[in-house]
Symmetry: C2
């Protein structure tokens, strides 16, 4: 099995590196017009996982020559203060993209904060204006990074989507719904099924899929008998499970029971090293799109 | 067969009449606060079908005690002039709902006109802000009338949607996509598949459906062997087909081959008399929602 396993793995790190390489060219083009693209990341509180993500985003900016501003606010920051910070960034011409790291502390209304971001700087693609643009297939909007990364992985792996049966498990606005929009859009043209926790016979629905996207956040939920032979599986889940044999006491697994599912697949993304690296790469892409749209130089 | 046919028919006229009755109560409640709800319908040009629709909307307003203003503009009206009319209506406190009858003449950019409507008065639910609210399951938005009518028909017929396999044929922003949002939303909880012209094996996909919504605009495309025994079929299509035996020289048929499909169905909507009457009834509902939200009296 190990040979079939290695040949069908979609290498997210390699595809992300290719996206980053495209970004380098785009940064150069902006620089030739004296534009330095800028990304602001706002972090409220001390969530350790959030700190890791924010650090990774800043490092990737540095690597690319994107100006990055990290704004760390105490956990007690009020919603008004946070929205004030966002408004300042909306007005700041050095900043083309704004991201407020999720999740904020519980006293903050995350939706209100997202609405406060200028939609032209909303590189996460969560502002209602960008949600509508995605539904309306308007390419001037920002597509959320994770589903955009999934689509890019399919393309990089040479998977044809036209007329394919795609099943998305999960109906969140972060992944499930935008993934469905992207897959059904003209030019991509998949037949899309959105399944979720209330679906009857989830295994049976998943078995129909030529392309299966798992985005539920439940460790190793998708078993071998949920997957059709020759299917393509994209695993968005990143779940910590206890593992005393490791130094950290846990390991990361996806929503897919990889070891038993992988041998059946035409192609599959691993966790880690699949969708994860794509999310940051697509955030950089969105930041450069924002810089181009705001400066109109390229 | 005729007895099974009559017992499984979802009577759109009767359900629409029940919605209109609810509207009467809502109009009364607004009146007690000295609010007369108002709907403006703008028609550009002389399209005969559009004139029929606009006339029907005005009559239903009259019946309900909703103030209705019909604005007929010549086919040569420029986009700037039309947007000027919309802006006037946006500012007019007697008008709570604005609808620009589709399709406008070809020189008009329909999307730009929709964007010009104040989203709080956009009772068609086509403005990007309302598209986003539907995707985000925000109940303050306006849901497009036809898919809202389809959902209401399912409820009136006692069809349970939770966990059901729903297949929507068609991915338009008028019906297909909003229908999919409504069916997958929390509380409705169907598993939703959006199929379309590029789908491989459309008949096979439709055969999976517990609930099949046809919104493609192709006369009698859905045949008996596309439909599972006991399925519920909602036919959104209204297509004219030549028929020299009729006085008008044509007859109206849906997207479903009714005579052969109906005997297999648990429930089915006819054409005419199914979805059609619901669209105007839901437009009235949206107008009353708009009046309540703008006046905050009820």
């Amino acid at each position: 099995m190990s040979s079939s396993k290695s040949s069908n793995v979609i290498d997210g790190k390699a595809v992300a590196a290719a996206v980053i390489k495209e970004c380098l060219t785009e940064v150069d083009a902006l620089r030739r017009h004296n534009v330095v693209p800028g990304l602001a990341v706002v972090l409220v509180g001390e969530d350790p996982a959030s700190k890791v993500y924010v650090g990774a985003k800043a490092r990737t900016c540095l690597e690319l020559g994107i100006y990055s501003r990290k704004i760390e606010l105490p956990a007690e920051t009020t919603q008004e203060e946070l929205i004030g910070v966002v408004h300042d960034l909306n007005r700041d011409p050095a900043i083309h993209g704004i991201l407020v790291q999720s999740p904020p502390p519980k006293h903050i209304d995350e939706e209100a904060v997202i609405r406060a971001i200028d939609p032209r700087k909303d590189v996460d693609g969560f502002h209602p204006e960008n949600v509508a643009k995605l539904a309306l297939e308007d390419p001037t909007g920002f597509v959320p990074c994770t589903p955009a990364g999934c689509l890019r992985l399919l393309k990089a792996a040479g998977i044809s989507t036209t007329g394919a049966d795609a099943v998305v498990i999960g109906r969140s606005m972060i992944v499930g719904k935008p993934m469905a929009f992207l897959l059904m859009a003209k030019g991509t043209d998949a037949t899309v099924t959105i399944a979720h926790s209330r679906s009857t016979d989830l295994p049976g629905i998943c078995r129909r899929a030529d392309i299966l996207i798992a985005a539920v956040g439940r460790p190793e939920m998708v078993k071998a008998d949920w997957v059709k032979d020759g299917a393509v599986v994209i695993d968005v889940g990143i779940n910590r499970v206890d593992d005393p044999s490791t130094k950290k006491g846990y390991r990361l697994v996806g929503d897919v029971a990889y070891d038993e599912v992988a041998p059946k697949c035409r192609a599959i993304t691993p966790v880690p090293g699949g969708v994860g690296p794509m999310t940051i790469a697509l955030l950089m892409k969105n930041t450069l799109q924002a810089a181009r749209q705001q400066t109109r130089v390229v």
